[in-house]
Amino acid sequence: MKKLSMILTAVLLTGLLTACGSKSEATETSGTSPETVPAVSETEAFLVPENPNADPNADVDLTTLSSTMVYSQVADMMYTPEKYDGKIIKASGLFSVYHDDMQDKNYYAILIQDATACCAQGIEFVWKGEHAYPEDYPEIGSEITVMGTFGTYEEDGATYTQLLDADVTVNE
């Protein structure tokens, strides 16, 4: 009887964890290209805590956070984009370009690496005004600061995030 109860306990423990899902699509957002936005289950009103050092023009200023915090904050933006919709985001990172051969279209992004430097979150941005690539854009890999309005768009059945009407400055 005791043996049976032990086995039942063991099976119960296994079943509980198996039934409750996994790390959602967290690892899928670690690529450098635009990624599919995972399903959202949280819709909290809380955005970010007030920071006296933050740019007053930005609702979310990532430039004042440590790189670990920035990576985590960007992950949160990818998991729960509706929280940040229409908010002004300011972020620094490495300039990157992704070329879609199928549509012959460029996507511009800043890359934010995690502490182990093996994962990077990309935030796509659309530069305000008319700009030609590569003449007007910074060199790939140069550190830039981008401030724009957070939004999402649908493409090929997937939802992507981007910063619209962005101001772009190359960091000294």
């Binding site: 306990t9 423990l13 670690s30 450098t32 289950s41 670990t68 985590s72 992950a75 502490a115």
Partner: protein, 289 residues
């Protein structure tokens, strides 16, 4: 100096207002607590390396789940890890391939097959990033969602409850399985329970420190406590305290100074181990004098 400390403190207080930092701290402490409870038993049963082996199995299973396109990879990872844990812990002493060799074989085999499958069949744009993230934990602990936090809390409570309920039986089979059997304790059944709990902790801890560093989370607090304390109970209590403090310190340091979470926690565990070695040497020296 004071200003720097104040700034660091203010920064820390500010960071702790973020929900994902609160989640990371809650889950990190719970995983550290659970792994330390089990760590003492595994170390005493000469299964220190089983955490490493099982975490590699979990990595391999995760790769298989990815190749098969299973949306909830936990449905593959957990059963495979549990079965491997049962096989390793129950049959380790009675098979042609002995315990340490079996662990080593499964460990490197699963790691190699997992990496091979990920390279051959993965659809991810960043394979090296995915592999690195799984092996070293990356910042997974800081990207947890609320349901995942609740899952960890429930699992941790179950593990702690099971450990407390069966404390005396676990104590008995930890030190002498044959004697425990002779006194009517169903050693095989309790070994099965330990195997399942070990697998659960391994799968949970992959978020915190990654699959390569899980062993450190299991063995260092236990080994540190054993330097100074002698009784099973005092070693477990000390191990739990060390593990929780090191996890908290590691998480705090990593968010303040942008270091990798998993390796910072393990570095804190290593530091405490050497401190306890020093305390042990001092106590021994004092007794001889």
């Amino acid at each position: 100096m004071t200003e720097t400390n104040m700034n660091l403190w203010q920064t820390l207080v500010y960071y702790f207002q973020y929900p994902f930092v609160q989640y990371a701290m809650i889950v990190g402490l719970l995983i550290a607590l659970c792994s330390s409870l089990l760590g003492v038993t595994l170390v005493l049963k000469r299964f220190s390396f089983i955490g490493d082996g099982l975490s590699h199995v979990a990595f391999g299973a995760m790769a298989v789940a990815g190749v098969l396109g299973v949306s909830n990879d936990m449905t593959v990872v957990l059963p495979v890890t549990v079965i491997s844990a049962v096989l390793l812990l129950r049959t380790g002493q009675n098979t042609k391939i002995k315990g340490d060799a079996a662990v080593a074989m499964i460990s490197v085999g699963a790691l190699a097959i997992g990496y091979l499958l990920m390279n051959l069949f993965s659809k991810s744009a960043n394979i090296s990033g995915d592999v690195c993230s799984t092996l070293f934990g990356s910042t997974s602990i800081l990207t947890l969602t609320k349901p995942e936090v609740w899952l960890c809390i429930i699992m941790a409570l179950i593990v702690i409850t099971v450990f407390l309920l069966f404390y005396h039986k676990i104590f008995a089979i930890t030190f002498d399985e044959n004697f425990a059997n002779a006194t009517g304790v169903k050693a095989n059944a309790y070994n099965l329970l330990i195997a399942v709990i070990t697998a659960l902790i391994i799968v949970l801890a992959m978020n915190l420190v990654g699959s390569l560093l899980i062993s450190a989370l299991i063995i260092f607090p236990a080994l540190s406590a054993m330097r100074v304390f002698r009784s099973f109970r005092s070693v477990i209590i000390c191990s739990a305290v060390i593990s929780v403090i090191c996890a908290a310190a590691g998480i705090i340091l990593s968010i303040l100074f942008s270091t990798p979470v998993g390796s910072t926690i393990v570095a804190a565990d290593i530091l405490v181990f050497f401190i306890f070695c020093g305390i042990s040497a001092a106590i021994s020296g004092g007794k001889k004098a």
